[in-house]
């Protein structure tokens, strides 16, 4: 059993995100896997123009985005809300150097959560990102996701900063281990 919930097979918002990553010429995709991003990750892995880098911890992805930008490539970081906590100090790079760092965060501990361990970081995700200077928007319906992700990519690459879209657990669903 997956501990996390993946979007239903018919949900097409991950495809819209993929199309946006292509439209904005994102070449490096750093990630720690999340079930909510599983379909998007598959699309990225299948694309020859994208380099998918699976990290051991999310802060590696923040540093990697800085390196990509130094070399003229656009990068994005995909992670779950718990991973945001791992990124805090590394996000100083975006502030110090004015580096575009778009992040797409699938939320846990956010809406109807089953797992108590997800709640502290899930509730702190937005505060932590904003405390480090990240511009944050969030989508709580599938129809809101593409517009928010596009805003996050534009804001990052046009104004040189860390940005994030939080994809609410209401969109992704909460796994209940058969106990609901």
């Amino acid at each position: 059993m997956n501990l996390d919930q993946a979007p239903s097979a018919t949900a097409d918002w991950p495809d819209h995100i993929f199309d946006l990553l292509k439209a904005y010429n994102v070449r490096q995709v750093a990630l720690v896997p999340d079930a909510g991003h599983s379909r998007l990750i598959k699309r990225c892995l299948a694309d020859n123009a994208m380099r998918v880098v699976t990290l051991t911890t999310e802060e590696e992805g923040v540093a990697m985005m800085a390196g990509a930008w130094l070399g003229g490539s656009r990068a994005v970081l995909l992670m779950q809300s718990s991973g945001v906590g791992n990124c805090i100090n590394m996000l100083s790079l975006a502030t110090l150097h004015r580096t575009p760092m778009p992040m797409l965060v699938t939320m846990r501990g956010d809406f109807g959560e089953f797992n108590p361990a997800q709640v502290p970081m899930g509730q702190a995700t937005r505060t932590v990102l904003e405390a480090m200077g990240t511009l944050v928007n969030r989508a709580d319906t599938p129809g809101d996701i593409a517009a928010n992700v596009e805003a996050t990519l534009k804001f990052a690459f046009n104004t040189y900063r860390a940005t994030a879209t939080l994809i609410g657990q209401r969109v992704i669903g909460a796994k209940t281990f058969g106990k609901d």
Partner: protein, 193 residues
């Protein structure tokens, strides 16, 4: 045992278009002492980030050698990055750890490498096959050749004297550090992108 600035000066001699990322603290002062250039990216913070900055740059610029020079304390904070880098296997990325077995900027407290932790073995365990342990000045020409060979990822540890040297500070303005390297790599239009 090597002297840290002589090591860096010899490694960077005739560096050509190599891009260099330096971890915070003495490594950043050392690359600056060897000659501050637009192709130097000295870190002032982001401890544990140097190797992964190198990876992002190496993937973006596969024809250019990227060298990460950092300390044992900084590398110990990013051991997982060794796995991430080994899996990506960029041929143009080299990492040189200047290992003095101490946290030099904070009062020379001991690091784990002074207690037997073996960074070369960890890199090999992560899957980086091309590694080197440098303990004598006579090995530096081979080290330099390996960094330039383009047969990476390459990981080396150089055991250095835990000496504290006069500071040679690079620019502290992060926007300049990023913009100048982008311009050096991407050309005069880099910062109009």
């Amino acid at each position: 045992m090597l002297h840290r600035r002589a090591l860096v000066a010899e490694v960077l001699e005739g560096r050509g278009d190599m891009a260099v990322i330096a971890g915070l603290g003495a490594s950043a002062w050392d690359i600056t002492a060897a000659g501050d250039t637009a192709l130097n990216f000295p870190l002032w913070g982001a401890m544990g980030g140097a190797a992964m900055i190198g990876l992002g740059l190496a993937i973006a610029q596969p024809e250019r050698t990227v060298l990460v020079i950092t300390g044992d304390g900084e590398m110990l904070m990013a051991l997982g990055a060794l796995a991430s880098i080994a899996v990506q296997a960029p041929k143009n990325l080299a990492i040189l750890v200047q290992d003095n077995e101490h946290y030099g900027e904070t009062g020379m407290q001991q690091t784990a490498t002074g207690h037997g932790v073996d960074l070369v073995a960890m890199a090999r365990g992560a899957g980086i096959r091309h590694t080197m342990l440098v303990t004598e000045p006579g090995q530096v020409p081979d080290l330099r050749a390996a960094i330039h060979a383009g047969d990476g990822p390459f990981f080396a540890v150089a055991k250095i004297d835990p000496e504290t040297l006069p500071l040679v500070l690079p620019p502290r303005e992060g926007v300049i550090l990023q913009a100048r390297m982008r311009e050096a790599i991407l050309g005069p239009l880099a910062n109009l992108a």
